[in-house]
């Protein structure tokens, strides 16, 4: 046997053993640098920070449906299908439109939360990581609660403790498993889950967020206050707005704002506990495409700075109509996060509902004095709880313009005959009505969701 043959054999042996020694590890290498299989606590933290998806609230449909704005007849035709149909509370809202954020993105937030919560169940919580662990878990629960809160306001009937266990709520998903079937829960189960998530989150979250879009104890309290208000549980709504305000009570003095700016209210201002915004920017969210009814505008007193800060005169060509520019996002996006002014209003209303007239009026006065030209505000007084409540509800509407709150308030207040309101739209001389407690106060679930999941559609 020649030396070369031996050499060849050596080469081949080396080659073969090389391959053999490259056991499965060699093939386990990660394919894409930017892809991760979320496993570690840090991975979970990365997921909860996806502000592009998670700092958005999917309350577009209910904001489009509400009567905080109107569309000038001339530009109605150029609005999108969804804008036109929600505006007129049409029977077929979607006309086959796909990818509605109010369902899809909300549930993708739920999925992110579930991936994190399940991931954390496999990560040990110990003394060195407990703060971070708690923060991530609290944030995930907070996220899931938020997404479900808006889903419930959009696709389920208004909460009523008498019928909540028989009314249909939304599908509750608590595991990231995509194989599990989709089933609608009862409305009671839906609210129980939302409250459970926020309550647990409040126990885990830090007092102050790292970044203003992160969840914190105050923002969890804020959501709990909102939820209980929607459920007409005023005692609890009071408790949580109180807890919020104990930590976060400072208000923005509108006298300090630059009234010449296009959007006078600064983004991330001191009233904001958690910044989030509506997930879509529909044209009618922007003052150039929608207007504010004069009947609302004229409710603001001349010394009320909000009359300037919130509204923009659309010019002579428009015969003195007004557009809204008072978003806490400091731009055209609509703010939907948790802020201190809203908490004053919740505490005030809860107090009034519970008969604490003085406390209720104090909150309103404390809020409004920051909204008026310095030295011009004359404090409100009220002799009865009902008188207080009436003025609180008017101030609530005036303060929380275009925040996605109006529709939720309409659903809630329509249950009380004294506050039930028929809302109307007028387009090209034709009037469209939405009577109180109409079926159309519940948006239909998108058709493709019905097709793919087989869940029950809302009557309309």
């Amino acid at each position: 046997m020649s030396i070369k043959l031996i050499n060849l054999r050596i080469v081949s042996i080396v080659f073969m053993s090389l391959l053999a020694s490259c056991d499965e590890e060699w093939l386990d290498a990660k394919r894409d640098l930017r892809l991760i299989v979320p496993e570690t606590l840090n991975d979970m933290k990365l997921l909860i920070r996806d502000e592009n998806n998670l700092a958005k609230d999917n309350n577009n449909l209910i904001e489009l449906s509400a009567d905080d704005y109107y569309i000038p007849s001339a530009s109605f035709a150029s609005r999108t299908v969804i804008e036109r149909n929600t505006y007129l509370w049409a029977k077929d809202v979607y006309e086959g439109q796909q990818n509605l954020a109010d369902w899809n993105q909300a549930y993708s937030q739920v999925e992110v939360a579930n991936v994190i919560i399940e991931g954390l169940s496999r990560i040990e919580r110990n003394s060195s990581n407990q703060h971070e662990w708690d923060d991530v878990k609290g944030s995930a629960l907070h996220l899931r609660g938020r997404a479900m809160y808006y889903l419930a306001q959009t696709f389920s009937p208004p909460y009523d403790s008498k019928t909540a266990s028989t009314n249909l709520g939304i599908p509750i998903r608590l595991k990231p498993d995509t194989q599990a079937p989709t089933v609608r829960s009862s409305l009671q189960e839906t609210y129980d889950q939302i409250l459970a998530d926020f309550n647990e989150a409040a126990g885990l979250l830090p007092n102050a967020p790292e970044f203003i879009m992160d969840a914190s104890k105050p923002s969890a309290y804020g959501y709990l206050a909102r939820c209980y208000l929607v459920m007409s549980n005023f005692q609890k709504a009071f408790e949580f707005s109180q807890k919020y305000l104990e930590q976060h009570s400072e208000l923005l003095d509108f006298n300090t704002l630059n009234l010449n700016a296009t959007f006078p209210i600064p983004r991330y201002n001191l009233e904001v506990a958690q910044h989030s915004e509506s997930s879509r920017v529909y044209g009618v969210f922007v003052f150039s495409s929608s207007r504010i009814e004069n009947s609302i505008y004229s409710q603001y007193a001349n010394n009320d700075l909000r009359k300037v800060v919130f509204f923009r005169n659309m010019g002579s060509g428009e015969n003195g109509t007004y557009g809204f520019r008072g978003s806490y996002t400091g731009g055209v996006q609509l703010f939907s996060g948790i802020s201190t002014n809203e908490m004053y209003l919740i505490r005030s209303e809860s107090n009034a509902r519970m008969g604490n007239v003085q406390a209720a009026i104090k909150d309103i006065n404390d809020l409004l004095i920051t909204r008026w030209i310095a030295g011009t505000y004359i404090p409100y007084t009220a002799s009865s709880a009902e008188e207080a409540l009436n003025l609180i509800l008017i101030e609530r509407r005036k303060e929380l313009m275009r925040r996605g709150q109006r529709w939720i308030d309409l659903r809630r207040l329509n249950k009380e005959s004294r506050y039930a309101t028929k809302i109307v739209r007028v387009l090209d001389g034709v009037q469209y009505d939405l009577p109180p407690n109409d079926q159309r106060y519940v948006l239909p679930i998108p058709d493709y969701v019905i097709t793919l999941s087989g869940i029950q559609q809302n009557p309309r």
């Binding site: 020694s21 290498a29 394919r31 930017r34 892809l35 990365l46 369902w103 296009t262 400091g330 731009g331």
Partner: protein, 1183 residues
């Protein structure tokens, strides 16, 4: 993992170092300049009781000289078992010993360093010479003409040349020294013919000695074929699989600078789809996958090629083999599901003298015809704008605080409304615009004739122990778009080195560098989010470049400078000057292989290839460019009356991106071949590892000063209020990093066994493993196999059809695979930078899929190959049947689950088809006429697709054009790409609304029509891709002239023609010429199908019309693909140099449509812009 990769690295580095040494050594040895003649090569051969065929194969291996023969030529009566012992004998002697007993002649093809065994029927020397004198008795003045026949190139004597006295049967053949003797008289014409050479005719006259040089005719050698599978070279006689070969001649016919154009229409079953505009898609035998990569595997010199195939210089390509069926492709395993295109580049051959070839040409292309796109006329468009304006459509834009652009017409109308212009003045201003068409200006300033120059020089030769091939190529292209230019430099060094017998070392170093300038700005000419208004003028009346209305209203733009902003105008022609985008793509391929003959029957080889590609792009947007001015302005600090500062520094913006790909391929392979008596066995087995790593970086510098090379830092973290939109944004940060790593490990083996040279059995198997992200180990492997058989019918003793000297049948069955690297088994997430806080973040990409598997594609192939006498008609007919299972499909997932879609192994496709090729030699005299006909038929049908689309509109998209998988809508029982439409009930006579059917009644309730429509209620027209396609090429030649014309055809498919969408016209200014023929009053519905114009636009109505059957057309067409005219001279003496080849050629590509089924004047294969016709002229010579 680390340990392992380090080892691999070491080995690879070692290999690379050896490759370099080999190149150096070969370079030195070349200096000897000692060219051995092929036949003087020393050969050692021992054969005992083997067939002549086997002996020739062994001789081929021993001598490393290609020996070409057809079985027919060896089909000697009385058996042909030979035995031979030769030790260090010359090849000449061995060949003589082997062939003389059977009276078989051969000739040397020096050019290709090969031996060609001549057909026996051409060589019956004894009979002819004997009969000659007897017949010549009848002739009175007989002269005995003698002479010598030699090869014009090599001056080697040619043996076996047929010499016939024209018009008689009187003739002879030349002997081994090329000498002949024939009786003829003065007026006779001698006709010299020899396979592979041009026929020569000489009048005898008074000469008694006629020496003649025969000129090689490369074209007639088309039966000399070698297939490369990338693992081994195979001869047609032994292969069971389906191969299709594109030889050098066919590749050289088309002079395009890129491979894609050269492969178009030259081989059956390969369809080149260029409907997408920029990117050409290959398709071999239809679809085998849905979501995974659908392009064939490209193999260059034995290893998969990762780069852009257009960086390969076609002048360096020796041949291309297309592997079509499972048996041919299964050797490539999971990547072969779409077929394999094996490209073999040129290399030096042993025994070949020094040879130099030069090819150069220039190609000029027409300007593209922008008017091919049928746009609404300017005048109609202005009327539409006027109507929109009157309806208040633009009022929002006019009052909008973000100052969106409003067109000049709207501005004029607004001035009229505000009383600034009289009605008369308004009308006359509008009238002045009506005759403009911006496309005239675009053609003038942004398009030009394309010019493409090609220069290629190659040098090849050999010494006793080595051979080499070196080439340099340079291509320079000025594209149709002003500002876009490209240059490609390619260098190729190949060496084969035999330091000792039994060892053969091959090395190759290929470097290509492509530099490109992409400075055309025509793509960014628009108005805001709309198309450019058609009456735009790009110059003023003096021809000076003039601004157009761009992102913002002119009033806003004109007042910007006084507020302290930079000039905010957009001047299209000026922009062209400030565009500075360059790209440099370099590709290095270094390969090294060593082959060692362990024993007579066994050899081992190790091959290694390193590939490195770099793509560097540099985009400089100087401060003069609109992009930079606009960005600086938007991000400036504006206090409501003036600019107080800039957040983006004044200066240019320089963006770099840098992408690289590095691959290592290693292969160890054992080859065995043994023959005894009636049996022969060839086998190979091996392992292969492969790693492909890509990396990409991009980074940007703001405030760049090209004179100083300096830049400034910016604040990427904070959000700024943008002016005038008032939205919040951070400064665009293009800095990024990405990377992928693909690893494969494969084990493969195949064997073929032949009995009595008639029956061949073929088996192959392969296991592939990869780092398919997240798949459980047991699913990473995919065992794939194939089996094949072949029967050479004409070799049977009972087969006596002399008119059919070659006939064989073959059949194969087997599996290849595919993989979608983008799907994974686990929930995965991708890193991003958080939208607002800019912190590290991640988002979920996909739900988990623990059952992920490789795709599998099974194929049955049955083929028949035949050839009639003298190749008058030859060809092949193949039938195949495909069954692709476990295909990755995507479908909607209930979004409640958190994801809107899901990818998994949910689909199957079945298909079948035919591939037919006929080659005929119709006339073969001084005037020659040959025809090549190719026909392919392919179908596919989705047999399983578990997920269904939720919207009826999904069916209306044609994913076959875009190849965007999210556009695919597989329907069970239908082809993957089908054309569907709503049935049409004509226009409503009252309103001009397009109508469909609702519950069987004509209806214009589009909402109800769409929501009640199902896939079954839609009209299914047929396939969106051509099931029938092919080409017909006729070549005629007369003496030195040859002319060939290639027709290509596609039949049996449908497409949707574009038309007017009013909502689109309003919102994006995209309008179609059909507008002019729209319904306008009752009665029009008789003569038009184009709906009336409505305001406001109803997008559902438009979508219904555009998706209705009215607009679906047949795609069938026949086109003249190209024409080539060549004049070839050989034996041309220039001074002391004899040219072995001298060819001048002219070539016209994309000649035009001959016939089309649709009457709308549309080219279905080029929906947006047809490829401009190109004219080339060039020459080739060699010495």
């Amino acid at each position: 993992m680390k340990k392992c990769s380090t080892k691999l690295w070491k080995i690879m580095k070692l290999c690379a170092a050896q490759a370099m040494i080999a190149i150096v050594i070969t370079g030195v040895s070349m200096a000897h300049d000692n060219y051995a003649q092929l036949l003087d090569k020393k050969v050692t051969l021992q054969v005992e009781d083997v067939s002549l065929e086997q002996a020739l194969y062994k001789l081929q291996d021993a001598s490393e000289v290609k020996i070409f023969f057809s079985l027919e030529s060896l089909n000697t009566e009385g058996g042909n078992v030979v035995s031979l012992q030769a030790h260090e004998e010359t090849l000449r002697k061995v060949l003589d010993q082997l062939l003389t007993p059977y009276n078989i002649k051969y000739r040397v093809d020096e050019k290709n360093s090969s031996i060609i065994i001549l057909k026996k029927e051409n060589s019956k020397p004894s009979q002819s010479t004997l009969s000659a004198p007897t017949r010549s008795i009848q002739i009175n003045t007989i002269t005995n003409v003698t002479g010598k026949v030699t090869d014009a190139t090599t001056q080697q004597p040619l043996a076996g040349v047929n010499i016939v006295v024209k018009g008689t049967t009187n003739g002879t053949t030349s002997d081994a020294d090329g000498k002949y003797s024939v009786n003829a008289n003065e007026d006779d014409i001698l006709v010299f013919s020899f396979i592979g050479y041009s026929v020569m005719e000489i009048k005898v006259g008074k000469q008694s000695v006629v020496d003649i040089n025969l000129v090689e005719d490369v074209k007639s050698l088309n039966e000399v074929v070698v297939f490369s599978t990338g693992y081994a070279e195979e001869t047609p006689e032994r292969t069971t699989g389906s191969f299709s070969n594109v030889g050098k001649e066919l590749l050289e016919r088309n002079v395009g600078p890129d491979l894609v154009s050269r492969l178009n229409g030259v081989t059956p079953s390969l369809l080149v789809d260029q409907r997408n505009g920029n990117q050409a898609f290959f398709n071999i035998r239809g679809r085998s996958t849905i979501m995974a990569n659908d392009q064939p595997l490209i193999v260059v010199d034995n290893f998969p090629y990762n780069g852009n195939i257009n960086t390969i210089n076609p002048n360096d390509i020796e041949n291309i083999t297309v592997l079509r069926d499972a048996a041919a492709a299964s050797i490539w395993g999971v990547r072969a599901g779409n077929g394999v295109i094996v490209i073999t580049t040129k290399k030096g051959k042993s025994g070949q003298p020094l040879q130099v070839n030069i090819n150069t040409n220039v190609t000029i292309g027409d300007k593209p015809d922008l008017f091919y796109e049928k746009r609404i006329s300017t005048s109609d468009f202005i009327d539409v704008e006027k109507r929109l304006f009157d309806n208040g459509y633009f009022d929002n834009d006019i009052t909008n605080f973000t100052n969106p652009s409003i067109s000049p017409v709207v501005e004029i109308l607004l001035k009229g409304r505000n009383g600034e212009l009289s009605e008369q003045e308004v009308n006359s201003r509008l009238h002045a615009l009506r005759s403009n068409d911006v496309r005239n200006d675009l053609e003038e300033y942004f398009y030009r004739m394309s010019v493409n120059q090609q220069y290629a020089v190659n040098l090849s030769g050999s010494t006793e122990r080595s051979s080499f091939y070196t080439s340099v190529g340079y291509d320079k292209a000025a594209s149709n778009l002003v500002g876009n230019n490209q240059g490609r430099l390619s260098l190729n060094f190949q060496n084969t080195f035999r330091p000792v017998k039994k060892i053969q070392i091959e090395s190759r170093l290929v470097y290509t560098q492509t530099t490109s300038e992409a400075n055309s700005t025509v793509g960014s000419i628009r108005m805001g989010s709309r198309d450019i208004y058609p009456y735009a003028k790009l110059t003023d009346e003096f021809g000076n470049p003039t601004p157009i209305t761009y992102d913002y209203s002119p009033t806003f733009v004109n007042s910007a400078e006084s507020k302290g902003f930079l000039n905010w105008q957009y001047n299209p022609i000026e922009e062209l000057r400030y565009s500075d985008n360059t790209g440099k793509q370099s590709n290095i391929r270094a390969a090294f292989g060593i082959k060692y003959d362990v024993a007579k029957w066994l050899s081992g080889e190790v091959k290694y290839q390193y590939e490195n590609q770099g793509l560097k792009a540099r985009i400089l947007q100087p401060i003069e460019s609109y992009f930079t001015r606009n960005l600086i302005n938007s991000f400036s600090n504006y206090n409501g009356s003036s600019v107080t500062g800039y957040n983006i520094p004044l200066g240019g913006i320089l963006t770099h991106s840098d992408q690289s790909l590095e691959s290592h391929n290693g292969r160890f392979q054992l080859n065995a071949s043994q023959m005894w008596h009636n049996h022969s066995l060839i086998a190979l087995a091996g392992v292969e590892v492969r790693e492909v790593a890509t990396e990409g970086y991009s980074y940007r510098q703001y405030g760049y000063d090209p004179n100083l090379g300096s830049s400034s830092s910016v604040n990427y973290d904070d959000n700024f209020v943008l002016y005038p939109s008032n939205s919040y944004a951070t400064i665009p940060n293009t800095n990024g990093i990405k990377g992928t790593l693909d690893r494969y490990r494969s084990y493969f083996a195949n064997t073929s066994y032949t009995f009595k040279e008639r029956y061949t059995l073929y088996l192959s198997g392969r296991i592939d493993q990869s780092n398919l992200f997240g798949v459980r180990t047991n699913q990473k492997s995919a065992p794939l196999w194939s089996i094949g058989g072949k029967w050479i019918v004409n070799a049977e003793p009972f087969f006596k059809m002399e008119s059919l000297p070659y006939l064989s049948l073959r059949a194969t069955y087997g599996y290849s695979g595919n993989v979608d690297q983008n799907v994974t088994a686990f929930t995965t997430a991708q890193f991003i930078s958080a939208a607002f806080s800019q912190r590290n973040a991640a988002f979920l990409v996909n739900p988990p899929n623990p059952d992920l598997r490789w795709e599998k594609s099974g194929m049955l192939n049955i083929g028949i190959d035949f050839s009639t006498r003298r190749n008058a008609l030859s060809g092949s007919i193949e039938f195949y049947n495909k069954d692709c299972t476990d295909l990755i499909g995507e479908g909607p997932l209930d979004p409640t689950k958190g994801f809107t879609s899901f990818k998994g192994n949910i689909a199957s496709i079945k298909g079948y088809g035919w591939d037919v090729q006929f080659n005929s030699i119709n006339i073969d005299r001084t005037f020659k006429w040959r025809t090549n006909f190719m026909f392919s038929y392919t179908t596919d049908k989705v047999t399983r697709y578990d997920l269904r689309p939720t919207s009826i509109w999904d069916y209306m998209r044609d994913g076959s054009i875009s190849r965007i998988t999210s556009d695919y809508v597989p329907v069970e029982g239908k082809p993957l790409f089908g054309v569907y439409s709503f049935s049409s009930a004509g226009l409503d006579p009252q309103t001009g609304d397009p109508r469909g059917y609702l519950n069987g009644e004509p209806s214009a309730n589009y909402s109800a029509i769409q929501s009640s429509a199902t896939i079954d209620s839609l009209v299914y027209h047929g396939r969106a891709t051509a099931p029938v396609y092919g080409a017909l090429r006729n070549t005629i030649s007369y003496r030195q002239w040859s002319l060939s014309l290639n027709l290509s055809y596609r039949f049996g498919y449908y497409f949707r023609s574009p038309s007017i969408s009013y909502s689109n016209l309003y919102s994006s200014y995209k309008g179609h010429q059909d507008f002019a023929k729209r319904w306008q009053q009752s009665g029009d519905e008789v003569s038009t199908t184009i709906p009336s114009m409505v305001y406001p636009g109803n997008s559902l109505r438009d979508a219904f019309y555009l998706s209705s059957e009215t607009l679906v057309e047949r795609g069938d067409n026949i086109r003249i693909q190209d024409i080539q005219l060549a004049y070839e001279l050989a034996d041309l003496n220039v001074g002391s140099v004899t040219l072995t080849q001298f060819q001048v050629y002219a070539y016209i590509n994309n000649v035009g449509m001959l016939w089309k089924a649709n009457s709308r004047g549309l080219d279905p294969d080029f929906p947006t812009l047809p490829l401009p016709r190109t004219y080339a002229i060039g020459f080739r010579f060699g010495f």
